[in-house]
Structures are given as C-alpha cells and as structure tokens.
C-alpha cells in the first residue's frame, strides 16, 4: 500500500487508484504466465518462432512469479519495476521474430504493439508508485479553530461597519447602484 504525498491534493491518503491498477496488472501477469506455460507451442506457432517453447514457458513462470509478488506484497512498487524489466525482455525476444522471412511477421508486429501498450501502463504505474510515500504522512493540521475573531464569523459580519472608507477608496459615484443597498437607506434615489 502506498500513500499520496504532501505535494498531492489529497496528501497522505492511500492511493487506491494506482494500487488497484497495480493489482490489475498483477492478475494480468498471472493470466498471461499461465497461457505461456500451458500453450507455449500454440504461441510460438502463431508467431512463427517455433523452437522457443522452453523460453516461452520460462517467461510464463516469470510472469506468474511477478503477478504473485504484486498481489501478495504490501508494497507492489519493486515488483512493478520488475514487470517493466520483463517487458523489455519480451520486446527484445519478439523483435527477433521480425528477422528473416518469418511468414507470421504480422502476428509478431501485433504482439509487439500489445506488449508496448502494456509496457507503457507498467511504466506509468511503477513511476506513480515510486513518487508516493511508503508510509502514511502525519495527519493534516486542524485549523478549524483559527478564526482570529472573538465570536463566530456570522456574528462578526459587519462589525467594522463603523469604518469609513477614504474618499479616494470609494467606488466612483458614477458606478454606484442607483438604488442603494445600504441598510440605512442612504444613497442615491432611483431616477424618476
């Protein structure tokens, strides 16, 4: 669990949005890992990268481990950076599928785009978590009793009406309302 920092508007609250995103990515990580472990042969065939089944299964185990790490830890931040590193490895491996005359080149391009999208999400999530505090900030100071007035503000409203604004600080006569709103009724009359 990470907390928003002093610089953020909510300061010190658990950041449930980023936390939820991290956990969502954890679930995704486990799901992707299971697919890689169980259907490694189908995946390599679809990508025209046969012969890499063992590597894909190892990547799958890595994904599962990171997903479990994200979901089980109190602080998902290091695991999220681990996902970013794994994404880089995935992108590099997929890029080898573009070499030569791979007939499934289009599928590889599609997979690269998908992994790039997830990478962007992982980086955003990891960066946000890194900026936040791992411990709650001290509670906000309470200034609700700092009125500076001897009675509630409502009772003090107009207490300085005895103050007479200097002539050069008054609203120009031409801009004053025709009908005075002053309670004493002073001011100009409505023209006939």
């Amino acid at each position: 669990m990470r907390y928003e920092t002093e610089r953020t508007g909510r300061r010190g609250h658990p950041d449930s949005t980023t936390d939820a995103l991290a956990r969502g990515l954890g679930v995704f990580s486990i799901a992707l890992g299971l697919v890689e472990v169980v259907a490694a042969r189908s995946l390599t065939r679809a990508l025209g990268m046969q012969g890499n089944e063992t590597l894909v299964r190892l990547y799958g185990l890595r994904e599962i481990a990171k997903g479990v790490g994200i979901l089980a830890s109190n602080d998902p931040m290091p695991w999220m950076w681990g996902r970013v590193a794994g994404d880089a490895l995935d992108l590099a491996t997929l890029a080898t599928g573009l070499e030569g005359d791979n007939p499934k080149r289009d599928n590889v391009m599609l997979a690269l785009a998908s992994v790039a999208g997830v990478t962007a999400l992982d980086i955003y999530c990891a960066q946000t978590l890194s900026r936040e505090s791992p411990t709650p900030l001290p509670p906000m100071r309470d200034y609700s009793d700092r009125s500076g007035l001897p009675r509630p503000p409502k009772a003090m409203r107009g207490a300085a009406r005895d103050f007479e604004a200097p002539r050069d600080f008054r609203t120009p006569e031409a801009l004053r309302p025709w009908t005075s709103s002053r309670p004493d009724g002073a001011g100009r009359e409505q023209p006939a």
Partner: protein
C-alpha cells in the same frame, strides 16, 4: 549580528553581517524582537524579482525595540519605544505622502532612477526587497536601520499586546484590509478571494468585518482552506472543482461583485491551457509573471464589479482579456499597501478584541532556522501558512 542573507535563488543563509549604524539624522536603529517571512519574500527566494544582489539582507515584516535615534527623529521616537515597522518606507512630506499614498512616496527610494526606468516613475523604498526599491537591508536580522524613522513606524501602546498580535500591522493585516477596502464592500456583495495564504486569510476576515454578504476563498491547500472556513469563507478547492461553475452556483449565475487577487505573479501551474502557456513563456524569458488569476477574475467578475490586486506582480503579463474587462466596465484597484494609512484604525480593532491577527501563525522558530523555514513555507509542508522568526 546575525541576519538572513540572500545569495542566489533558493539560497538564503543565516550569517554574520556588520551591525547597522545611523547614516542619516532621521534614522533609528531597532533591535528586532520578532519578524516573519512574507509570501512576497518567496518571490525573491524563487528568483522572480529582478534587482537582488548577493549579500542582501531580506525581510520586511518585523518589529522591535528602539535602541538608537537620529537627532531629527527624536521628536517622534525615543530609546526603548516598542515599534512595528511598516514595509513601505515613507517621508510623510512629499506630495504622495500628503495624499496618504505612502507606498508611492517620491522621496524614500534611493534608487529612484532605476525604479523610474522600470516603472516609468519611482515608488517608495521598501525593506529587503531588491535594489529597485532602494536596496535597503531587511528585517530578518537582529538589528535594523530604519530610515525616515520619525514617520516609518507604528508605536505599540503599553496595553499588554504581544508581538504576535501586532507584528502583522507592518504588512499582511493592512494589506488584506486595503484589498477589502479597495472593494468598497456593500452588504449585498459576494467577495471572491483567490489565494488563502496569509494575505488571503487577512482579506477574508477584513471582508467579513466590513460586512460582505458572502466571502469565497479559492485555493488548493487543504489546511489553508480549513483556516479560510474558520474565518467565515465558503471555500473552493480549484483542484477538485471548477472555480467558475462553483462561483456561478454561489451567485445565481451572475458572478461575484468583488474579486481579490491574493496570489500574484507565481500562480500555481494547473492543467488549464493558459497556465501551461504562462509557464512555457516564463521558462523562455518571454513573460515574467503568471497571471492566470487575473484572467479568471476578469472572466468571472460581475459586470460593473471591482477587481482588487494586493498580490505582487513584478513585470510583464500576457494574454490579459482586457476587452472583457473594458466591456464589463470593471474597476481595477491595486498597489502596494499604504500601511500607515490604516494602522491607527487596525491597532484600535486589535486592542478592542475585534480581531487577533496571530491566528495565522503556524510556525515559530529561531532566526537561525530561517533558511529551512523558507523552504517549508514555499513547499507548503507541515501545514505551514505563516512563519514567525525570533532573532
């Protein structure tokens, strides 16, 4: 003596500097008992005001005990007097002073020619606030030379008031008060105040005391909004809701009659297009100030309303919708505060218990911790709203 010395942006240090001396018959030397960091000091700290020189002593909110009096100030002050020093230095004799326009005194800025080049005409000398305003040493120090001391002081009566209760007569209280007075508040008025820092807090209380129907405070810092509510304001957190929509809701779609800018040139950078535009222009030195608040006030203010600007601006602003301002017939009032014009009245209100300005103090520290308190105040850490320093 010890003093807070400006070296470069974000570099203020507590150092030993030479003691001040009487330089003119109208001078006095005071031993500072309490001083404060003002929001406008942050413009120096952040490097947005031109004219600072490495080695300048900063600070323009201070008070203390008179230690030495020049021969021409003896009629007005004596050793042992307890005084608050207004941040504007004034002679009391020039044409502007005779009109009560002390912040544009024609005499006290000893760098008048430079000021006239920047502003067209000179303004008054200020303590610890650039060489454009005279290059006078400031009051975040153990001792200060007060020029034109026979006029530039507010005598504290022997009525048991604490330093904390009267210190802000030197700047933020009269500044918030003048901002509200400039609005010539009617009992039917909604007064919207941008910025709930120290001056904003004083403007809120002033508008309440002067009888505004409704006071609205706009900020983003929860503690500041909390303190604004305590003073009687309805609050808008501009990071959580639309300022314009909420002000429309609060004024039956007509807008506030009176708008006060207590933010100035360093408006927070938001996701608004104009705000980002200002930041980019500022970064490439094509604009000195960020006037987002001015634009928002012009847009939202009720036609024939008043805009009051106590917030400090330093130079050039861009993309001001002046057509809207002209066509809506808005009245503009602005300027540095004519402090002593208001202080007799405000001191009486403090003595009578109508207001206790010390409510705004959130941090009190020794002078030596001034540099780190600048950072705490700038970054709004630890619920910091107003820092008081004890030399």
């Amino acid at each position: 003596m010890k003093a807070l010395v400006w070296h470069k942006p974000s570099d203020i240090r507590c150092e030993e500097v030479p003691d001040p001396k009487i330089e003119h018959p109208r001078d006095a030397i005071i031993r500072v008992t309490t001083c404060a960091i003002c929001g406008s000091d942050l413009h120096l700290y952040n490097g947005y005001m031109p004219g600072m020189v490495n080695g300048d002593v900063v600070g323009h909110e201070f008070m203390g005990e008179v230690m030495e009096v020049g021969p021409e100030a003896k009629g007005a002050l004596k050793v042992g007097d307890r005084i608050v020093v207004p941040f504007t230095i004034f002679c009391g004799e020039c044409e502007q002073c005779r009109r009560g326009n002390f912040s544009v005194c024609e005499t006290t800025n000893r760098n008048r020619e430079v000021a006239a080049k920047a502003f067209g005409r000179t303004t008054a000398g200020l303590f610890g606030y650039t060489h454009l305003t005279g290059g006078y040493q400031g009051g975040q120090a153990e001792y200060v030379r007060v020029p034109f001391a026979d006029k530039t002081h507010i005598k504290v009566p022997k009525s048991g008031l604490t330093d904390e209760q009267v210190l802000f007569l030197g700047d933020i209280f009269p500044t918030g008060w003048q901002a509200a007075v400039q609005c010539d508040i009617e009992p039917t008025d909604t007064v919207a105040i941008w910025g709930a820092g120290p001056v904003g807090q004083m403007a809120i209380r002033s508008a309440v005391l002067l009888g505004a129907k409704q006071v609205v405070a706009i900020d983003r810092v929860p503690e500041r909004l909390d303190m604004a509510r305590a003073g009687g304001a309805v609050t808008i957190n501009f990071e959580e809701e639309s300022v314009i929509e909420r002000l429309d809701d609060l004024t039956s779609g007509k807008g506030p009659e009176k708008c006060i800018d207590c933010v100035g040139l360093e408006a927070h950078i938001t996701s608004h297009v104009d705000s980002m535009y200002d930041r980019v222009k500022q970064a490439v030195m094509a604009e000195s100030d960020r006037p987002h608040v001015l634009r928002e006030m012009i847009y939202v203010c009720r036609p024939a309303g008043t805009i009051s600007v106590p917030g400090v601006y330093g130079g050039l602003v861009d993309k001001i919708p002046f057509g809207a301002s002209m066509n809506k017939g808005l009245t503009w009032r602005m300027g540095q505060t004519h402090v002593n014009r208001w202080t007799d009245d405000l001191l009486r209100r403090i003595e009578e218990g109508q207001i206790d300005p010390s409510f705004v103090i959130t941090h009190t520290q020794p002078l030596e911790r001034g540099p780190e308190m600048y950072q705490t105040f700038r970054d709004k850490q630890d619920g910091c709203i107003k820092v008081v320093l004890k030399p």
